[in-house]
């Protein structure tokens, strides 16, 4: 627990926000750090625990409507995540987690509820559910490149002046059919649900480089192969 030189990966509320493969983001960050000789420490924080403020990368997963509301309430009451973000920590949130780190998000009857407020986005409920493979081009300011994943949500998200869209949608819906995800400093969110980082190794490396500086490229392996394969499949549709 007390390895101060290790990269601290904090997994927020796996008991509430771990719906479909969210663990993948934890595992792939850990693996890609360790392949480069960077020691890691994974901290699991259940919804009954306090969120530690001294983490490097905070991960939030997806959740059904009710767990999402509970998670937002508990994170707001706890305050640890907001303080960590204010300190400059990296936050990577997918799907329901993405919505609740924003200013507001919608419950199952489209009433706006307050989020954690560390990303300048406002989410509501769309008319239709967005389900399927998604492809998007990352903001060139972040180094560009394509991301691919699976989306399964009914949210529609508007981006405020303090945040920027993470990417431009090529296939699928994302925020609104035009852009996908958002970032503000090192706080980054996306509708690519579950294992977004395993499916986009370059995005995992971007987060790592934010924390540890320049990192050596890795020998391409199954992650890169899967990325190529899924991109090709989604663009063929």
């Amino acid at each position: 627990m007390s390895n101060t030189s290790a990269l601290r990966i904090v997994w927020i509320y796996p008991d509430l926000l771990s719906t479909y493969g969210d663990q993948g983001n934890v595992l792939i960050l850990k693996r890609r750090a360790e392949l480069r000789g960077i020691p890691t420490e994974v901290v699991r924080v259940n919804s009954s625990d306090h969120v530690p403020e001294q983490g490097d990368i905070y991960l939030l997963g997806g959740g059904e409507d009710r767990p999402q509301i509970l998670a937002a309430e508990r994170l707001r009451a706890d305050g640890g995540l907001a303080r960590a973000a204010a300190r400059g920590a990296c936050v990577f949130a997918v799907c329901a987690g993405y919505q609740i780190i924003g200013e507001t998000y919608g419950d199952d009857e489209a009433n706006p509820l307050p989020g954690v407020g560390i990303l300048d986005i406002r989410s509501g409920r769309g008319e239709s559910r967005a389900v399927g493979e998604i492809v998007a081009d990352i903001d060139p300011a972040l180094g560009g490149g394509r991301i691919t994943g699976f989306e399964n949500h009914q949210g529609r998200t508007a981006i405020g002046p303090s945040a920027r869209p993470l990417s431009t949608t090529v296939v699928g819906t994302g925020n609104d059919g035009h852009t996908e995800g958002a970032y503000q400093g090192q706080v980054l969110g996306t509708y690519l649900h579950g294992p977004a980082l395993p499916r986009n190794p370059h995005l995992a490396d971007l987060l790592l480089s934010w924390r540890v500086g320049r990192i050596a490229p890795l020998q391409p392996s199954w992650g890169e192969r899967l990325h190529e394969e899924r991109l090709a499949a989604a663009l063929r549709q």
């Binding site: 796996p14 008991d15 509430l16 771990s18 719906t19 479909y20 493969g21 969210d22 663990q23 993948g24 595992l27 792939i28 693996r31 259940n46 919804s47 009954s48 059904e64 409507d65 009710r66 767990p67 509970l70 389900v131 399927g132 493979e133 699976f150 399964n152 649900h193 579950g194 294992p195 395993p198 392996s221 199954w222 992650g223 192969r225 899967l226 394969e229």
Partner: protein
Amino acid sequence: MSELPLRAQLASVLGRSAASLSRATGRGDGSVIGGRVALKVEPDLLSQLARGRRLALVSATNGKTTTTRLISQALREFGEVATNEHGANMPTGHITALSNSMSAVNGVLEVDEKYLPQVLVATQPAFVVLMNLSRDQMDRASEINLLAKKWRTALGKSNTHVIANADDPLVAWAGLGAPHATWVSAGQRWKEDSWCCPECGGHLRRDRDPYWECPECGLSRPQATWAVDNDSDVLVTPQGERLKLRLNLPGDANRANAAIAAATAAGYGLHPARTLERLREVTSVAGRYTSVVTMGVEVRLLLAKNPAGWLESFAVLDPPHTPVILSVNAQVPDGRDTSWLWDVDYRVLRGRRVFVMGERRTDLALRLETDGVHFEVADRVDEVLGRLKAEQPGITKVDLIANYTAFQQIRTAYGRVQ
């Protein structure tokens, strides 16, 4: 049941003809089309066909087909049983099952989780049998918290008797809505969908498995009168008898299914010792757990459709020297999204010979690489067996775990083994 109104009789006859036609032309087993035709003629047909019978509806994420089969096997002690054993588990399939067994008083129907509330209203069953709820094909299935809530509400409006697994908090909470209940301590290996209280969302206290309680609202595990003791392979009855299970289906998941089946059969008046004798006659269910012998090697087929199912399959693998083939597809019946692969812990496969196949084998390859499991990629089962035989000519057994369409493809390749 033979007293159906004329219109319903006609509907039923037309449905059966359509089903025969479907079978004769090789289009299917007729379960769905028959029911569809019949429903057009008489929309209230399911209620009419159910009237006067003692039905048990069986629902869960995993084990529906097996448990339905086990209960029917037990109830055949009393004569004919109306049942949808081909797994057509929506109302059209129920109509076909009941139409095909007009004189059966007892019936056991497997019911898709989403359809349970409506089938409950239509059929007024004597029993509703519930085993487990966990994440499954989330691109098209309902969210399970919502599902449990709908079950609870529907059960609350019924006069049925629930027979349910007390150890699964979501299932127990749903079952607590019913006016009558029998609780079975059937265990829960996969807990990732039930760390939080279904009533208030509090983090459940679960340190004394199988007990669970919510420290915030006080909801707690109902007291079970039936239990499974996996370590000693024993079923404990409400009378305190300890009966050896000795099933011919593998694993704790099937011990759980059998315990629930025994509690249900007891509701129909069958003594548990006799039930277990009958359950031991079941050796495979729609190709699951069956073995095919090909190229002199026995390949055991295990179906696993979701993380909880994969966990149960790993638990029944043969000793570590037995190679295992994993095959994953992502067609519509499987769920188009393979994210669930990341919910399964594959580390138990370390040190074993592992092969990956299927349309989404690259997803599987990355997943295994991340868990430090060595593997080889293959296209077909024969190819794997060829490779293995070249290295170890004396090899006799291989296990195979596949998700739904991958399983069906392999099963079809070996002649639709039962």
